[in-house]
Subunit: 408 residues, 2 copies
């Protein structure tokens, strides 16, 4: 008998029919002899509707009251799903975040899970019950309800799997796994059977919206075996774990694009120590996250530094830097927010120096100009004009997956 | 500085505009220097909508899961109202039933309040905050959410007022007080300034749907001063308390009708001891509540017993009695479910023997036949053909309130 944690997102529980489907998946797992803890999100658009109601009354409402309101969405999901499971004659109990012992920090709206008191969960499981837990929520030291922020239900599920030493954490969603590229956009994109935590982290941060990074990081830290699969198809999904069995063969597990990028270039900086520190500590203090950083080689006693931020931060970053022009010392700032980032991710890449070259070859083949390159152990990212991204992803994918089934 | 508990029903918080109105009432009370605890119901039809969603998934869902679901309605109300109060720049905090220390028995769907742990409530009040509490809900010894059943939010409010030793418990509703008769039906009906708990109890049980009996009983037991008033009109309402100041003058505080009545008559019973016991213990064992009981004077060694039940129980009562005909021993049963009860209620009645006579005179004056009479210390009830009730109420009201302002 295994203990399996299953997580179902908002679209998987959006209406009565889908709730019945989820109830069926859960009870079938139970009837195979496994213990089941299922974490549910709020139904469909419930959270957005509640946010709208709140905004109508007070656009600046306290986050404590927002959490009080939003937590109802998941509480409604779990109780309704419990009823659907009762209709299938299975023993079940639903638990809110606080009933499930989900202890968090006290930051409302974006709380971190500190600890899970599993005694009640364990007691209910020992009685043979399916346990449904409200995702996305917990309780802080003031006995107040908190929510975990974006991707919160994934994080709830992984944290529960870690705390209960579950054998598997299945993340049910509306896609049936992790693909080598977005299957809606790229011809020949195929589902991966397995992927490592690190690759998944790179893919998630690159805009493949399958799993939230926070939950993958937690899964990696506590070595929770993840599986991403569809609540609609019934097919096996993609397993996420530390080491994948055919890693030697895998060079590239995915191609991803991210259009939410702007590039800033500071031109004519003095070629002296401390410049980078001045720029990036200033941005960090103002909560602007920087992604790729490139520094040109110094020439004529001056150098240039370029970096990327999310587009919504570009204007703020420019203003900050302008205000501190004397402190930093530069000639001009250039901002380009019509660019995008295309990346390939693969755990085997570091041992295959030809991988980056093949990517550049693919782009050259379709005449796409690269404006910035950044590489890491498992990733190569390039910046390009945002109008070129879809063509770029297809060309790269075609290069690494020239015909079905060869790359894996 | 007084401590005031205010309760707002579902129609008072039905939408954003009404929530803003409630927020205004609460903050105005606070700004007058009072401490305020406000108990809220779920918005408008929320509870019914949730019940409907549940029924679609499982008409036989467990009550534990129903309570888990329904409790969200009040939780959404209080958080939204807190946001509206924040928009008016007042310090406020919303608390669920369990956060407010509302400890109940373990019967789901109809839990009784056992105790209120007021430490958190008191702490928040001491910090100068308005405290909003989710009505209708509590927590049982299993750390599970319970609901209090019909009229639950009124009961929550009165229980909080008792536990916190509040100076006043205001029940805001969609009528602006307790009237001498239903103002939608009776010309000349007027609002009472004050009424006793006992009169209120009789009126509530007679179908004047202003306050739930359970909350009035609790108010009487703990001597909580109640006021029933409208959240829309802004006018003073009706005060409910132990002794009203002009009790000597008050003969009749209200005229009420109840059409949810059926009369059963057992004819030809043996005139011997134990017959009434047999009949009414049989009904009680089968959870049939009996209201008025009348026994004819024995004649020719036989007697008749008539009694009233709510209409939905009439058929079941008849079948039960038929099945036990030999045990009880009677000739025949007559059932009449086209009757209604009209009553007058007044604390001063017992010292004014002419009151019942005036009621009968009023009915005689409009030619209405009375089929049964029952009297108590503060009430006279008569049964009549249900088609006569509206005329009867108007005639009785006209008799006791012949012109404006004379009876009080």
């Amino acid at each position: 008998m295994s203990l399996i944690v299953q997580k179902f997102g908002g679209s998987s529980v959006a209406d009565a029919e889908r709730l019945r489907n989820v109830a069926r998946i859960i009870t079938e797992t139970r009837k195979k002899g496994h213990q089941v803890v299922a974490v549910l999100s709020a139904q469909g658009d419930t959270t957005d509707e509640l946010i709208e109601k709140a905004a109508e009354l007070n656009p600046n409402a306290s986050k404590r009251e927002m959490d009080m309101l939003l937590a109802c969405g998941e509480q409604m999901s779990i109780s309704l799903c419990a009823m659907a499971i009762q209709a299938l004659d299975c023993q079940v109990i639903s638990l809110t975040g606080w009933q499930a012992g989900m202890l968090t920090g006290s930051v409302y709206g974006n709380a971190w899970i500190k600890n899970i008191r599993t005694d009640r969960l364990q007691r209910e499981l020992d009685q043979g019950k399916i346990v449904l837990v409200a995702g996305f929520q917990g309780i802080n030291k003031y006995d107040d309800i908190t929510t975990l922020g974006r991707g919160g239900s994934d994080t709830s599920a992984v944290a529960l799997a870690a705390a209960l030493h579950a054998d598997l954490c299945q993340i049910y969603t509306d896609v049936d796994g992790v693909y080598t590229a977005d299957p809606r956009l790229v011809k020949g994109a195929r589902k991966l059977e397995e992927i490592t935590y690190d690759e998944m982290l790179e893919l998630a941060s690159l805009g493949a919206q399958v799993l939230h990074n926070r939950s993958v990081e937690m899964a990696k830290r506590y070595n929770v075996r993840l599986e991403v699969l569809s609540s609609f198809s019934g097919k096996p999904g993609t397993k996420v774990k530390e080491v994948v069995k055919n890693m030697e063969k895998t060079h590239v597990s995915g191609v991803a694009k991210d259009k939410n990028v702007a590039r800033l270039a500071l031109v004519g900086l003095a070629d002296e120590p401390g410049i980078a520190f001045k720029i990036f500590s200033l941005l960090a203090k103002n909560s602007i996250n920087v992604d790729i950083i490139l520094q040109s080689i110094g020439r004529d006693e001056s150098k240039d530094i370029s970096f990327t931020v999310v587009r919504s931060d570009a204007q703020k970053a420019r203003e900050l830097l302008e205000e501190n022009r004397d402190y930093i010392g530069f000639e001009s700032i250039e901002v380009n927010d019509k660019i995008a980032k295309v990346s390939i991710v693969g755990a085997g890449m570091v041992n295959n120096p030809g991988v980056a070259a093949r990517m550049f070859e693919a782009l050259y083949g379709v005449g796409i100009n690269i404006s910035m390159i950044s590489t890491s152990e498992i990733k190569v990212s390039v910046l390009m004009d945002e109008r070129d991204t879809d063509r770029a992803v297809q060309a790269i994918h075609d290069k690494f997956y020239p015909e079905f089934g060869t790359a894996l």
